[in-house]
C-alpha cells in the first residue's frame, strides 16, 4: 500500500479537489487516525461526488499547532460501507452518523450508530426511515482506490422507534423532556435515565429543526444563499455568514478589502459579546440570582443595539455580502458607539464582580456538570466548552483569518470543566472581545467596503474555520467541473458539543440539568441544519 501524504493547506484557502490524495478506505481510516494522534483534530467529514457510482469521502483534519488543515479522501460505493473512523476517533461519531443519514455511506463498526436527527417517517411507523446500505457490484471499476468488499450482514435501519439507550433495574426511572419546552426555545428531546435525583445517562435526540440548509445552499440561486447561511443558526448569523462568504470568495480567488475584513471581525466580536453576556445573565437566572440576571440581560441589549446601528438588524443580518460588507461605520456613529461600549464595559465589570463573588452563585456553579479534559478531547468539543475543560483551541489564534491575523489573541482557558469554568471563560472572552472592538473601531481604516466576486473556479474545494461565539464553525464548499456548487457542508459547533452536555450530566442531579444546559447553550437549528 502506498502511503499518501494528506494535502495540506491554510484555513480559508481553496484547493483543487484533484490534489487531495486518494487512498483505500482502510488506509484512509489508519491515516486519519494517525494524524489525529499526532496533534491533529478531525474537524470535518464530507462527501463529494466521485466517479460514477461512487462517492468520495473527504476527511478534514485541523493541525492547531502549525495552523494548517489537511485533507485526505477515499472512494466509497454509493450505498456501500467503509471502516468507521469512530472506533479510533470518538469525535467522528456525529460526523459519520450524518454521512450515513444523508449520503447512505455505512460506517462499519461504528459503536453508536443511530439516526442523528429525528425522522417523522420513523414516528409514523415507517420501517425504513434511513437509507439502508446496498452493496453495488461494479465489475467495471478499474480506478484506484478500490473500495473494500462490503461485509454482510449489516443491521437494518431501526424499526419504529428511536433506539434510546436504557438503564433498567429497581429504582431507576426514565424522564422524558421535550420536544416542547417550558420556554420560547427550540424543540429537542431529552431522555434521562435516573435513579432518584441522579442522572446516569442522558440521550439527546434532535432533528426537529432540520431545514435542509446544506441542500438549499447547493440548489438556491446565488442571491438567496446569503439568507440561508445567515439562518443556519439565528444567533450566529455573523459567524455562519462570514464562513459562507469566505468559502465563496476563496473559490473565486478573491481578496476582500481591509476595511471589510475589520468590520466583519468587529461584527463577529459584537455577536460574541451579545451572546456571552446574555448567557451569563441566563446562568444567573437559572440559579435564581436576580441582580445578575437583570443586569447582564440589559447589557446584552447594548451589543445587539450596536450591531443594529451598524447594519439595521440586531443580529447582524444583512451586514455581510459576498466580497465585503454592505455598511460602513460613519465617524459620528463610531464615536457614539465607542462612548456607549465604554460605559457598558464599566457596568459589566460591576455586575461580573458581584456575580463571581457571590457565595450562593459560586456554590451552584462549582462542581456542576464537569467535563474532564480527556472527555473533551475525545469528543472533539470546541469553543468555550472545550476551553473550560483545558483544551487550548481557538480558531482566532490557531487558524486566524482576516483581521485576527495580527491580533495575537491567547485563548481563555480554565481547567475545572464545570459550569463555573464555562462561565469564567465567557467572562474573560467578553473582556478581550470588548478590547478588540474598541481598538479596531477607533482605528477603522477608510477604503472600499466591497468588491465584485469572480465566479468560482471549477473542481475546487474550500474549507473555512471561523470561531463563532459558540465555537468552531466549519463550512466546506466544493465546485464541480462546471463551476457550480456540487457540495456544501456546514458544521456548527453544536454538532460536536451536544454530546459534551450529555457527558456533563453523568452523575449529576437532574435538577442541575437546566444550569448545565445553559452553560453550553447549544443551538438546535445549528445541529439539525
Amino acid at each position: 500500500m502506498k502511503l499518501a501524504n494528506p494535502k495540506s493547506f491554510r484555513n480559508g484557502a481553496a484547493i483543487a479537489i484533484a490534489d487531495v490524495s486518494a487512498v483505500a478506505p482502510r488506509a484512509f481510516r489508519d491515516l486519519v487516525a494517525n494524524s489525529c494522534s499526532h496533534g491533529g483534530r478531525l474537524c470535518g467529514l464530507v462527501t463529494l461526488p466521485g466517479r460514477p457510482g461512487t462517492l468520495d469521502l473527504v476527511a478534514l483534519v485541523a493541525h492547531d499547532g502549525d495552523g494548517r488543515l489537511s485533507a485526505l479522501k477515499t472512494g466509497v460505493h454509493a450505498g456501500g460501507g467503509y471502516p468507521a473512523l469512530t472506533a479510533a476517533i470518538p469525535a467522528a461519531q456525529a460526523l459519520e452518523r450524518a454521512i450515513w443519514e444523508t449520503d447512505g455511506l455505512f460506517p462499519e463498526g461504528h459503536p453508536w450508530l443511530k439516526p442523528l436527527r429525528r425522522h417523522p417517517a420513523l414516528e409514523a411507523g415507517a420501517a425504513v426511515p434511513v437509507p439502508v446500505p446496498v452493496p453495488v457490484p461494479d465489475p467495471a471499476r478499474a480506478h484506484v482506490p478500490v473500495p473494500e468488499p462490503v461485509p454482510a450482514p449489516r443491521p437494518s435501519a431501526p424499526a419504529t422507534e428511536h433506539p434510546f439507550f436504557r438503564v433498567e433495574g429497581e429504582g431507576t426511572h426514565e424522564v422524558a423532556v421535550g420536544p416542547v419546552h417550558a420556554g420560547i426555545i427550540e424543540p429537542g428531546h431529552f431522555r434521562f435515565q435516573c435513579s432518584g435525583e441522579t442522572v446516569h445517562h442522558l440521550e439527546i435526540h434532535l432533528g426537529y429543526q432540520h431545514r435542509g440548509a446544506e441542500a438549499l445552499m447547493r440548489t438556491s440561486p446565488p442571491s438567496r444563499r446569503m439568507v440561508v447561511a445567515e439562518s443556519i443558526a439565528g444567533d450566529t448569523a455573523i459567524g455562519h455568514g462570514i464562513a459562507y462568504c469566505r468559502a465563496m470568495e476563496s473559490l473565486g480567488g478573491l481578496e476582500v478589502p481591509e476595511t471589510a475584513l475589520w468590520l466583519r471581525a468587529i461584527a463577529l466580536e459584537l455577536e460574541r459579546l451579545a451572546n456571552h453576556v446574555g448567557d451569563l445573565g441566563a446562568l444567573c437566572n437559572d440559579v435564581g440570582f436576580l441582580p445578575g440576571a437583570s443586569w447582564f440581560g440589559r447589557l446584552r441589549g447594548e451589543f445587539l443595539n450596536a450591531t443594529m446601528e451598524i447594519c439595521g438588524n440586531r443580529f447582524g443580518r444583512g451586514l455581510l455580502v459576498l466580497g465585503g460588507v454592505r455598511f460602513g461605520v460613519p465617524l459620528e456613529l463610531r464615536r457614539d458607539l465607542l462612548g456607549r461600549l465604554a460605559v457598558a464595559r464599566r457596568d459589566l465589570e460591576d455586575v461580573a464582580a458581584l456575580t463571581f463573588e457571590s457565595p450562593s452563585v459560586l456554590s451552584r456553579f462549582e462542581h456542576a456538570g464537569i467535563v474532564s479534559r480527556a472527555a473533551a478531547e475525545d469528543l472533539g468539543l470546541v469553543g468555550p466548552a472545550a476551553r473550560a475543560s483545558g483544551c487550548m483551541r481557538d480558531v482566532r489564534c490557531d487558524h486566524p483569518l482576516g483581521a485576527f491575523v495580527e491580533w495575537g489573541l491567547a485563548p481563555a482557558v480554565e481547567t475545572s470543566g464545570d459550569v463555573l469554568a464555562r462561565a469564567r471563560v465567557r467572562w474573560v472572552e467578553v473582556g478581550r472581545s470588548l478590547e478588540f472592538v474598541l481598538a479596531r473601531l477607533a482605528a477603522l481604516p477608510d477604503g472600499p467596503l466591497s468588491v465584485e466576486v469572480p465566479v468560482p473556479r471549477p473542481g475546487a474545494l474550500a474549507a473555512v474555520l471561523v470561531e463563532g461565539w459558540r465555537g468552531e464553525i466549519l463550512h466546506v464548499a466544493a465546485t464541480g467541473d462546471d463551476g457550480a456548487l456540487c457540495a456544501y457542508r456546514v458544521f456548527d459547533p453544536s454538532l460536536r458539543n451536544w454530546f459534551g452536555l450529555a457527558m456533563a450530566l453523568r452523575g449529576n442531579p437532574i435538577s442541575d440539568f437546566p444550569l448545565c444546559n445553559k452553560s453550553f447553550n447549544l443551538s438546535y437549528a445549528g445541529h439539525d441544519v
Partner: protein, 305 residues
Amino acid sequence: MFDVAVHITLLVLMPLPMLGLINRVKSIAAGRKGPPLLQPLYDVVKLLQKGAVYSRTTTWIFVAGPIVTLASAILAALIVPLASTTSPFGFPADVFVFAYLLGVGRFFTMAAALDTGSAFEGMGASREAAFAALAEPALFLALMIVCVPADSACFGDAFSAIPAAGGLLRHPGLLLAALALGVVLLAETSRIPVDDPNTHLELTMIHEVMVLDHSGPDFAFIQIGYALKFFALGAVLVHLVLPIPATGWMAPVLFVAGQAGVAITVGIIESVMARLRLSRVPQFLIGACVVAAVGVLVLFTGGRP
C-alpha cells in the same frame, strides 16, 4: 364580633397583595418598575373565569387536591391569631391542628400530582415530601419554644405570654425560634433559597412542578391556598417578633406592618442570593432544626423567665 370582623377582613384582603409586594420589591431591586401590587389578585380572578382542562389519566384525587389544599389553608389561617394575641377561632391545642392542616394540604397537593402519572410531578412530589419531613421538626421545635412558657398548646395563650417573657430581645430562645420559623416559612412556601417561584425550568422546581397540570379555577384555588399559607406562617412569625397588643387600634397597624415586613424581607432575600443546589436544601432545613433545638435548650436551662 368585632374581632371576627377584623380577622376575616385581614384574611380576605391581605394574602394576595402580599405576594404582589414581594414581586414589587424584587422588581425594584432589579431596576424594573414591576407589576401592580394587586396583580396576583387579577391573576386569580382571571383564572376563576377560565375553564379547567383534565388529563384522561387523572381521577377524583386530582380534582380534590386543590379544593382540600385551599380548605386546609383557610382553616389554618383562621386558627392563627392575626391582629390580636388570640384568634376568635382558636381552641385548646390548636397549634397541632395548625401544623397538621398544613400537612393535609401538602398531602393532597402531592397526591394530586402523583395522580397525573407525570414524571415531572412525581419528582416534585418526592422533593416536597423529603423537604417537608425535614421542615416539620423545625416548625414543632420553634412552636415548642413559644408554647412551653405559656403551658398551653394554644396560639392565643402562647402569644399572650410572650410580652411577659420580655419579648424577642430579652428572650434568646424566642429569637432562635423566629429564625427557625423564618426558614420553615421559606421552605414551606417554596421561596428562594429553597425553591424558585419564578423559574420556568420544570426539572428544578419543587412546588410549581406539582401543580403544572392544574388549570383554570383549580389553579386559582392553589394560588389562593398558597397565599393563605404564606400569610398564616407569616402571622406566626410576626407574633414572635413584634409585640402585638391584645386589643386596641395599634394591633392591626402593627400586624399589617409586620406582615409587610415579612414580605419585604422575603423579597430582599430573593433579590440578593441565588437558590441553593437541591442537594444542599436538607442541610439548610436541618440547620433550622438545630437552631430551634438550641432554642429549646435555652428554654429549659434558664432562658425561662
